[in-house]
């Protein structure tokens, strides 16, 4: 039975259901209970934004507050995954990956290959990303392209509450390391989510709008910007097909290529900085494999090549929006803006 809950509640529900189903699932991270060792409430926070609230009460010691030592606890999650647990580690902000990246890209990501296919590392690293909170340069980045670059990691980018729950359950049940990226602006977004557990396979994009004129490939929070643009453009007679990648590794190449073969036009929307991001990756894919289908040059709509600024005026300028997407679509349609 579906009912409306938020993206944040969907994530919490996925964790709760998986922890109930499988005693090997544990949660660790900074303040995931929030209050360990204090005189106050032992679950004061339930995650810095309350995403894991209630899980400590329900599961006790399987929800572990960690010291602020990302290398140690992300590495511990990875090590525990090789030793029989299925940890879900929360790395508060994706921006903090820098302090523990070795444990992710040299350890977790490489075990399977390096050890000749004999290792399984079923670890999920949940992390929040993205601009929009006035959190500035060190708490707003979109570093998912970095992880997408690394063989051995799976990278998941849910855009809706429904996808958040289904993809997270899939991530927990998956036997590879998964970087699960949650956009902090989306936590309060409501949507229909079934109560029962379900999974969404990785590498299957979601076509959120069908259309014959232009393909818009996007992901994460930008899915909502793109659909807003598509709806506006529809009123002007331009039919956009909006594809939500949902996972960047694996990436659903077939859905992208089929759509571009139908529309002949491509706009890629990615909140990340413009160099070596998902937009460039998708553009390269299409240029490589569907060049003959293209009726117009590919356009990319991305954040600019600057750190995320603090001031609201600047941050709003930084974030791609529906107007920029509409302009890009009109351009590939050969229309004047």
């Amino acid at each position: 039975m579906a009912r409306k809950i938020t993206y944040q509640q969907a994530i919490n529900e996925a964790l709760s259901q998986e922890m109930s189903r499988d005693p090997r699932v544990i949660i660790m991270g900074e303040d995931v209970a929030g209050g360990a060792g204090t005189d106050g409430e032992d679950e004061a926070w339930g995650g810095v934004l309350g995403v894991t609230k209630g899980l400590y009460k329900k599961f006790g010691d399987r929800v572990m507050d960690t010291p602020i030592t990302e290398s140690a606890f992300i590495g511990a999650a990875v090590g525990a995954a090789t030793a029989g647990l299925r940890p879900v580690a929360e790395l508060m902000f994706i921006d903090f990956m820098g302090v523990c990246l070795d444990q992710i890209f040299n350890q977790a990501a490489k075990f399977r290959y390096m050890f000749g296919g004999k290792a399984e590392t079923p670890v999920v690293i949940r992390t929040m990303y993205g601009a929009g909170f006035r959190a500035a340069a060190q708490h707003s980045q979109c570093l998912y392209p970095v992880f997408t670059h690394i063989p051995g990691l799976k990278v998941v980018m849910p855009a809706t509450p429904y996808d958040a729950k289904g993809l997270l359950i899939q991530a927990i049940r998956d036997n590879d390391p998964v970087i699960f990226c949650e956009h902090k602006v989306l936590y309060t977004l409501e949507g229909d989510v079934p109560e029962e557990p379900y999974t969404i396979p990785f590498g299957e994009a979601s076509v959120v709008r069908e259309g014959k004129d232009v393909t818009i490939v996007t992901l994460g929070r930008m899915v909502h910007m793109a659909t807003e643009a598509a709806d506006n453009l529809a009123k002007q007679g331009i039919k956009c097909e909006v594809i939500d990648l949902r996972t960047t590794s694996p990436m659903d190449e077939d859905t992208i290529l089929e759509s571009v073969e139908n529309t002949g036009r491509l706009v890629v929307v990615d909140e990340a900085h413009p160099r070596c991001n998902i937009a460039t990756d998708v553009s390269a894919l299409v240029a490589d494999k569907a060049f003959d289908s293209l009726k117009a040059p590919i356009k990319m709509v991305t954040g600019p090549h600057v750190p995320v600024p603090f001031s609201d005026v600047l941050e709003d300028l930084y974030i791609p929006n529906a107007a920029k997407i509409e302009a890009a679509v009109r351009l590939v349609m050969g229309k004047k803006n």
Binding site: L85, Y113, E120, G152
Partner: protein, 322 residues
């Protein structure tokens, strides 16, 4: 501390196997047939053996660049290890890991590690798994004096202490982090001084003396298994070869290695002790020597003859499912 005759024979065989494996690699590497980087454990055998003798299938270890000894100690197949170092398909990791990444998770060997300080966080995780799953297992991070300065090690000592994990942090101090002396690079006068800062016991043992390592390891492991928490053990030892094969070691004293080999060879010291006390006969130990020589000779022959991986192997083993 009591050791049965079978234990003594097992320990000697383990040390001898490591020694012969490494001495042979030293020779073979010089021929140019072995690709990449190889870091030899010769001289440090009593450490891996002293710890691994106490371990069983529940237990996990993580190793260092210098990981062959720990791998043999934890029961990795010697033929498959040799084949791996030669980059062959029959290698322990299918030729995809090499010397620096030898691992066998089925044996509880979480890998040699190409990253200095890569192991301790993983061992916190392995210890956590043992604790949550109540397996009774312990997890041991072997690190060198170089990794002892890494933030990952410091963080892991803290985390293991905070969570009271069944972990051991074994610092194999051979005096050199690559070519830099630990006397220069380690700020505390004594490694074990750092243990107190993490509220865990810290002890130092002579890594040339199997019996000293074995006993200390046994006590630390017993403590960890019974819920007593982590401990830090500095094993003072020496390496016979350079940081990697091909290292001319001009940073070492002229007769340093010669003197160490003459006075601190853990195998010689072991033999002297058990033969002197008439616990084992020289003939029994000689037989092990001969067995091990034949075993290593056979492993090298097989590794050389084994086929390399094929192009089809390049793209496999990245994901469990993708």
């Amino acid at each position: 501390m009591q050791l049965s005759k079978a234990d003594l024979l097992k320990a000697y065989r383990m040390m001898k196997t490591i020694r012969e494996f490494e001495e042979r690699l030293h020779v073979e590497f010089a021929t140019g047939e072995i690709p990449g980087f190889v870091h030899l454990y010769a001289g440090e055998e009593a450490s891996a053996t002293g710890f691994c003798m106490h371990l069983d299938g529940r237990d996990k270890i993580a190793s260092t660049h210098r990981g062959h000894g720990h791998s043999i100690g934890k029961g990795c197949d010697v033929d498959a290890m040799m084949a791996e170092i030669y980059g062959k398909k029959s290698g322990l990791c299918g030729g995809k890991g090499g010397s620096m990444h030898i691992a066998d998770l089925d044996k509880g060997m979480l890998g040699a590690n190409g990253i200095v300080g890569g192991g301790p966080p993983l061992i916190c995780g392995a210890g956590l798994a043992a604790k949550v799953l109540k397996t009774g297992g312990v997890a041991i991070a072997f690190v060198g004096d170089g990794a002892f300065n890494q933030g990952t090690t410091a963080e892991s000592l803290n985390l293991a202490s905070v969570w009271r994990l069944p972990c051991l942090f074994v610092v194999e101090n051979n005096g050199y982090a690559e070519a830099t002396s630990s006397k220069y690079s380690v700020s505390c006068d004594d490694f074990t001084d750092r243990a107190a800062a993490y509220s865990m016991p810290g002890i130092a043992v002579d890594g040339h003396d199997f019996f000293a390592v074995y006993e200390a390891a046994g006590e630390a492991i017993k403590r960890a298994r019974s819920g007593g928490g982590p401990s830090l053990i500095e094993v003072k030892l020496n390496r016979y070869y350079g940081h990697f094969e091909g290292d001319a070691q001009t940073y070492r004293g002229v007769d340093e290695v010669k003197n160490i080999r003459a006075t601190k060879d853990c195998l010689v010291l072991f033999r002297r002790r058990v033969e002197g006390a008439k616990l084992l006969d020289a003939s029994e130990l000689n037989k092990i020597d001969a067995d091990v020589m034949a075993q290593i000779e056979n492993a090298v022959k097989k590794a050389k003859a084994a086929p390399k991986p094929t192009a089809a192997d390049l793209m496999t083993d990245v994901y469990v499912s993708y």
